[in-house]
Symmetry: C7
Subunit: 91 residues, 7 copies
């Protein structure tokens, strides 16, 4: 289902992925890891700002710090919204 929410500026909406999930490249982060980066899927991307052009795109699997972003409930599902600079990298 398409998400109509448009994050402002350099913000990104991420759908967290269960830590046990193993991606195509075989990456996983064990549940026991306390403050290890978390994994999620990019759902929506802002247009960036004058200082920051966006790099990630919808559908990218990304890693981000455990305490990054703000929880957001859209259409009954839990997402995170954070600035792109909080994203560590693309899996």
């Amino acid at each position: 289902m398409a998400l109509t929410f448009k994050p402002l500026a350099d913000r990104v909406v991420i759908e967290p992925v269960a830590a046990e999930t193993k991606t195509a490249s075989g990456i996983y982060i064990p549940d026991s890891a306390k403050e290890k980066p978390q994994q999620g899927k990019v759902i929506a991307v802002g247009k960036g700002t004058k200082e920051h052009d966006m790099t990630v795109a919808e559908g990218d699997m990304v890693l981000y710090g455990k305490f990054s972003g703000t929880e957001l409930k859209l259409d009954g599902k839990d997402y995170l919204i954070m600035r792109e600079t909080e994203i560590l990298g693309i899996l």
Copy 2:
């Protein structure tokens, strides 16, 4: 009724929407959510600054952090005034 108040710079006036309200896209934020983002309607938009061009427009439904902005009573109704950077995104 048209609002004659013009927010300065990169500020936006928002009319908070009751958390139970369900928008056309089916988004809602349950009342029990403590620090979850809040929903509101943009009533007036500043002209921006040299560093910040405005993105939101009058009538947009937006999400913003629970503690964002300053309370403002205009024509007997309660509004919030905040900088656009505090707005998370457009619903």
Copy 3:
């Protein structure tokens, strides 16, 4: 009486308006409001800075935060002097 005081840079001199006053657009801020924005009339405007062009003009009715600005007695009357960025908007 014309005020000869010229505020420097991006500063604005404001004559506070009693909170009970009701403007033409019907706006008022009840006295009981503790930290609600205050209302005042712009009396003098600085020339701005390289980073900040001025928006308000003499005679504008503006809202500003309750604790904004510095008290100033000019010609026996009480004014406030503050940076334009502290002004929330024009009524």
Copy 4:
């Protein structure tokens, strides 16, 4: 007597004026005012910086915050030296 001291950058040398003094425009600040702005005469002005062009000129009567600047004794008289941004305005 001409003062040979040249303040650097965006600094200004000010000769404080007794708070009871009443200027031509009739402005005065009563002695009892605790943290009200103070009044003084600009004695010397720096050349400004890349970011800041100077506005005040020698001879201007200015208002500045009570705790602004550093005390300076030149030729046996007490002056204040402060950055122009600390000056509130020109009387």
Copy 5:
């Protein structure tokens, strides 16, 4: 095995090298050194930002502060991800 993880912006993924390892140029950092810089191999490099062009390249051996970066588990191995400015130099 090639790592598919792409660090964002000015971030670099580093594979820490055991402190006892002696490089071709004979450099080593004894295990007893408490807060001495650590040694590692650059595994992946971001594209940089508008303000920061990247200098290090994949395969470079680098030194970095003991407490730099965030731990990251990729394909079952431990890495560090940090901003390039945290890297002290290339061995």
Copy 6:
């Protein structure tokens, strides 16, 4: 004796002058002044930075804050080294 020490960037080397000294323009700062500005002679001047062009020149008598700069012993004499922005003005 010429000083061969070249201060870096926007730094200036100053030879402090005894507070009782009276300059040609008759300026003096009594010893009892606790945190009054201090007087010194510019001995060496850095080349400035991209953001800061130097104003003072070798031989200038300057005033600086009592706690400005770092003590420096060169050829057995005590000097101060400080950034030019810490110098208040030229006597």
Copy 7:
């Protein structure tokens, strides 16, 4: 022996010189000086950054603050690595 270590950005590698050493220009800093600047020889120099062009060169004798930089052991010898802005000047 040539040092193969290349400091990143605006960093400089310095070989500390015993405080009693007397340079050609006769400068020395007595051991008893507690927080007086320290003397060292520049061993390697980074390429600078967009904001900072490098001034010091390999072989320069420099002064730097007592607590500047990070200790670094390269080829069994103790060095310091610090940003050039922490260097006070060239002897």
